[in-house]
Symmetry: D2
C-alpha cells in the first residue's frame, strides 16, 4: 500500500466539547460507591469541586503528556473561561508545539499507529505521536514564529510565564483559531509556567534567536519562573493542584510550598491535590509517587488528596464533565493572577 502525505493527513483530531453534556455527573457520582479507579475518580472529582467552592484557593492545573494533540484542549479552554483554574504549569509541548501551534491555524491528525513505517513518515515530514500525526512543515512555521517574537523583544531575562503571555498577545493579533489555551489565558490574565521552556518548539525558535543575535539576545530564566510561582503561593491563603500526568510540572508546582517556607513565609501545604496518571510508585520516580509521599516532604496535605491511576483522555473528561455539569464554579470569579507581576504592555505592543 502506498501512502501520500495528504491522504495520511486527512482526518483531524477534534477537541472534546463538554459544554451542554449532561449525564456524566450522575455516572461519576455513582462510581463513588464502587471500587478501584472508578471510586478514586469519583473522590478526585469531589475534591476538585471542593477546590472550586473554596474561594480563597488558587487552583493550579499541571499538564504533562500530549494532551492538546489528543483533543483535550477545549476542556482546558472552557475551564479557563469559566474560572475553574487560576494558573497552569505545563510541559512545553502542550503549550507551544500543540496549543500555540493550533492557535496559528494548524491541526493535528488522526493516525493508525501501525499503518505506516516511521522511516516512511520521516521521509514525508510527518511526525507521529502514537496515533496522531503532525505536519512537520507546520511545526517549523511554529518554531519560526517563536524566533520572530523573540527578535522583537527587549533582550533581557524573561520567565517562561512572561514569554507565553507575549505569545498570547501575538495570538490576539495574528491567531487563526480562537480556541486556544494560550489566548484564553491571556484574556483572563491567567499565568502559564513552562519550567523546561527550551524543551519544545520554543527551544528551537529561541536557540535560533540567540545564534542569530550573539551579542544581544533574550534569555529564559527558569529561576524567575520558580520565583514568580512561589510569589503567587505566598500571596494567597490556600492552593490546590489538579495534575494530569507527572513529570516536571508536578514537582515544580509542589515545590513552591517549600520555596515559600525558605523565603520565611508561613505557607500552608497544598490543601487539595488530585493527580491522574498511568505511572505508579514502584520505580521510585516522581511521576508516580503517591501524594502521601509528597506529604512527607511537606508539600501536600493528606486530607484531601487522591491519585487516579488512569490514562488522562479517559478520566479527565469525566472529571471535567461532572464539574461543569454540577456548576461548582458558579460562585467563582477570575483571579487575574498575572496582574500581580509587572506589566508587559510595552512588549506586547510590539507583536
Amino acid at each position: 500500500m502506498s501512502h501520500d502525505k495528504s491522504s495520511l493527513l486527512n482526518k483531524t483530531v477534534e477537541h472534546l466539547d463538554l459544554t451542554g453534556l449532561k449525564g456524566c455527573a450522575a455516572l461519576v457520582k455513582a462510581m463513588g460507591d464502587t471500587a478501584f479507579q472508578a471510586r478514586n475518580l469519583s473522590r478526585a472529582t469531589d475534591i476538585y469541586e471542593m477546590m472550586l467552592k473554596d474561594k480563597d484557593c488558587m487552583i493550579i492545573l499541571c499538564l504533562a503528556g500530549s494532551l492538546v494533540s489528543a483533543g483535550m484542549k477545549k476542556i482546558i479552554v472552557d475551564m479557563i473561561e469559566n474560572n475553574m483554574i487560576d494558573a497552569i504549569v505545563s510541559t512545553g509541548a502542550n503549550i507551544v508545539d500543540q496549543d500555540f501551534f493550533e492557535g496559528l491555524g494548524f491541526r493535528h491528525y488522526q493516525a493508525n499507529p501501525y499503518a505506516v513505517d516511521d522511516n516512511k513518515l520521516q521521509e514525508m515530514m510527518i511526525d507521529r505521536i502514537y496515533d496522531t500525526y503532525i505536519d512537520e512543515e507546520n511545526l517549523r512555521d511554529c518554531d519560526h514564529t517563536i524566533f520572530e517574537i523573540a527578535n522583537k523583544l527587549t533582550p533581557r531575562a524573561y520567565s517562561s510565564r512572561e514569554f507565553i503571555q507575549i505569545m498570547g498577545a501575538y495570538l490576539m493579533k495574528h491567531g487563526k483559531n480562537k480556541n486556544s489555551i494560550v489566548r484564553a489565558a491571556y484574556e483572563k490574565n491567567l499565568p502559564i509556567f513552562v519550567p523546561a521552556f527550551s524543551d519544545c518548539s520554543a527551544g528551537f525558535g529561541l536557540v535560533l534567536h540567540q545564534v542569530k543575535n550573539p551579542e544581544k539576545h533574550l534569555a529564559i530564566d527558569s529561576v524567575k519562573d520558580f520565583r514568580e510561582l512561589t510569589e503567587l503561593k505566598i500571596g494567597i491563603k490556600d492552593s490546590g493542584l489538579l495534575m494530569l500526568g507527572g513529570g516536571v510540572p508536578k514537582n515544580f508546582a509542589q515545590d513552591i510550598v517549600v520555596a515559600a517556607e525558605l523565603l520565611d513565609h508561613d505557607a500552608a501545604m497544598h490543601k487539595y491535590a488530585v493527580q491522574i496518571t498511568v505511572a505508579d510508585e514502584r520505580d521510585g520516580a516522581l511521576s508516580g509517587s503517591t501524594l502521601r509521599e509528597a506529604c512527607s516532604w511537606g508539600k501536600v496535605s493528606t486530607t484531601f488528596e487522591q491519585m487516579v491511576f488512569a490514562e488522562a483522555t479517559l478520566a479527565f473528561p469525566l472529571l471535567a464533565a461532572a464539574a461543569f455539569e454540577n456548576g461548582a464554579a458558579k460562585q467563582r470569579s477570575a483571579k487575574h493572577l498575572s496582574k500581580q507581576f509587572p506589566s508587559l504592555m510595552e512588549e506586547e505592543a510590539k507583536m
Copy 2:
C-alpha cells in the same frame, strides 16, 4: 486508632446502575475523534454495537479480575436481561465468591486500603480486595452452600456450565437478592463457563464434598466445558468477544475457534473482539497480548478488533452506558444457548 469488625464493614459497595443514564453515549462518540485510549474506547464501543446489530453473532462476555465486588454486577445483569450477551466465560471469583455470594444475600464493603493492617484484618476474619472488604464468615457460608448443592447431585462428571446452571436454580428458590448474574443467566438460559472452577469458593465446597464422599462424588470436568463452548461456536455463524481483563477466560474463549477446526468444522475466526485491560504486551503473557497477535493463531480476525488499555471500572461503564443509550440491542432476542445441551431439570429439581 482501634477498629472493630462492624465499623469496618459498614459502607456497602453499590452496583452501578446505568439504566436511564443519558449523556454518556455522546461523550463516547466524541472521544472517537480524539486520541489514545479515549479513541480506542470509542472504537471498541462501535465494534460492540456492530456485534449487537449482527443477528447471527454469538456474543461471549469474558470476565477476569474482581469486577462484581467492584460494583459492576448490575451492568452485566442488565446486559443479560436486554439480550446484549449470549454466553459468559469467567474466573470463579466473579461468579461464585462474588455474584453467587451476593445472590445469597451477602455484601461487599468499601474500604480504605491503607487504614488497617492486614494482620489485624485476618484476626477479625475480614478479607480484603484492594479497597474492598468481605466478611469471611459470609464467604464460608457460601463455600458451604456449594458443598450442600454438590451433595444433592447425582455423582458424575459435570461441566462448570452445568453446575452453575444448577446454582442458578438454587438461587431461584433460596436466593435473597434478585440482582444476580447467575440467576439472570439461569432465567435466560445463558450459559456461564468457569474453566478453572476449583480456583474459587466453589473449589472449597467441592473439595469438602469429595472428601466427605470418597467413594461416590461428582467431578468437574474442564474438558467438558471446552467441548460445550466449542459446540456453541460450531452451531453459529459468527461470534464476537467482549473481554474485561485477560487470563484464562480470554484464552479459553479464543481457543474454541481452533478446537472447532480440529473437530473438522469450518469455523470462522471470531469476527469481533474487544478487550479492556491494564496488561500490555511487553511481558509476552496472554493477558496483555494484542488481538493482532491472536490473529496469527487463527483465533481473531483483525478487521474489527480493538484493545482498550484501561482499568475496567472506568472504561466498561462508559462502553456499556453508550450501548444501552444507543439501543443497539433493540432488535436482538435472547439466544437461550443452554437449551442446546441436555436438560438438567432433574438435578435442578433437587435444589
Copy 3:
C-alpha cells in the same frame, strides 16, 4: 510502635560497585542495599534461600505467562534436578504447549514482533507470542499426541497432576529432548498441577478424545487437583511459594491453606512467599494483589513475603543464578511428593 528520627535514618543506601564484581550472586546481594525493585529482588532471593534451608518446607513453584517459550525452561529443570522445588502449579501453556511440545522435539523461534503482519503469519501457519514464533503444524502434532495418550487410558476422572505424570512417562519412552520440565518432574516424582488444564494444547487433544469416544472417555477433574494439592499441604509442616506471574496458579496455590482449614486441619499459612510480576494492585485483580492482602485472607504470613515488580525473564534468572551459586539447596533432598498418591504404574505402562 514509636519512631524517632535517628532510628529511622540508620541504614544507609550503598551504591552498587560493579568493579571487580564476581558473579550474579554478588550482584544480587549488593542490590540489597540499594532501592526499589533491585532491593526487592535481593530480599526475595534471601527469602527463597531461607525456604531452601528450611527442611520441613514444601516449595511450590507457580508459573504463569509464557516462560518456557521465552527460554526459562532449563532453569526450572535444573531447579527440579537440584531439589530446589517440590511441586509446580502452572498454566497449561507452559507445561503442555511449550514444555511437553519441546520434549517432543519441537522448538520455539526468535522473531521480530514488528516485521511481519499477523495476517501473513496466519496464512503461513506461524503462531506468534510477542517476539517468538511457533510452527503451528508442530503444535497440532502436540495436540494429537495428547489425544493419543488419552485414548490409551482407562476412562475415569483424572487430576491434571495424574495426566501430566503420564505425559512424563510418555516422554521417557518417546521424547526427543531430555531437557524437559515434565520429564524431569516425572523422574523426581515431583507433582505438577495445571488447574485450568483444558485451557491449552491439552484441551484440544482431550476435546477430540471425548468427541471421538462419546460413551467412554476420561475427564479432567479440577476438584481432584485442588484436593491433592491440599493433601500435600496437610501432610507437611511449612510451605513456601515462589511465584512467577499471577493468574490461576497464584490463587490456586494460596487457596490450599484455606482448604486445609476447611477440612479441619490446622494448616499454617504459607510461611514464605515471593512473587515476580509486572501486574500491580491498582486494578484490584488477583495477579497484582500484594502478599499483604493475601494475609488478610489467612493465606500468606507477612513475615517473609516479597513482591518483585519486574518482568520475569529479567528477574527470575538473577534470583535463580544467585540461589544456584550460593548453593543454598545443598543440604536439601527430593521430597518425591507424587509418591503420596496412588500409583499410576498401570497407566504409565500403556505409553
Copy 4:
C-alpha cells in the same frame, strides 16, 4: 519484503543455562537468545557496546527518576572515569538533590515504605522517596550551599551546564565524598545539562539568591543549555543515547538533532539509542514513546535502537556490568567536551 516460513523459523530460542555461569556479561549475552525484556536488554547492551567502540560517537547519558538515591551513583561515576559516556542530560534531582548532596557528605537511608505514616515523617523532617529516606535538614544545607555559590558568581545568564561545572569546582575544594558524578564530571571536563534546573534543590537556593539580590542576580538560561548541547552535536560526526527513564532529558537530548538542522547544519540522526523505562506508549506521552516514533521526527535512526521495558535498578546494572566486564571502552579516551566552551576558571576560582 517477502517472507517464507523457513526463513522466519530459523533462529531458535535457546534456554538460559545458569550452571557454571561466569559473571554478568555471560548472563546478558545468553539472554540474547531468549525472549521479551531479557532479549531486549541483551540487544541494548550490544548497541551500547557498539557506541563504545565507535570512536567518532558522542555518548549522551540521560537520567530521569531517582537513580542516585537508589544506589546507582557509583556505576555512573565509574562510567565517567572509564570514558564510557561523554555528556549527561539529567533531571535536577539526580544531580543536585542527590549527587551534589552526597558530595557534601550527606547520605540516603533505606526505608520500609509501609512502616511510618507520612504525616509522622513530615513532623520529623524526614523526606521519603518510595523506600528511601532523606534528612530534610541535610537537604536544606544543600539548598543553602547553592545559594552561597550563586552569591559569589558574576551576575549574568548561565547555562545549567556552567553552573554545574562550578558546583564541581566547589566539591573539589569543599566536598566530603569523592564518589560524585558532579565531581568526576568536573575532573573529566564532561558537561552535565539539567534543562529544568529550577525544578530541584538548585531552584530553592537560586530563588533565595534572586530574592536577596533583587537588582543584581544571576539567571539560568535554559536556551543556552539547548544551544550548547546542539553545538556539541554539530561538532561531532555521530551520537548515541543511553537513556534511563524518559521525561525532559529524553526529549531534550533527542531534540538537538532537529535544532542542529534548524541552524543549517547537516546533522545526522542519533545513530544509536537505548532506553530503559517502565513507561509504555499507550498514553501517548514522550517518556514511553518508542524510538521508532522518534524516527518519524527525524531524531533517532531505527537501525540501532532498543527499548528495554524494565525498572532501571534491575536492568541498568546488568547492562553496565556487562559493558565493564567486556571492556568495550578500552580503546576509548575522554572527549573533554566542556573544553569547547569558554573557560569558567575565573568563576571556579571564587569557590
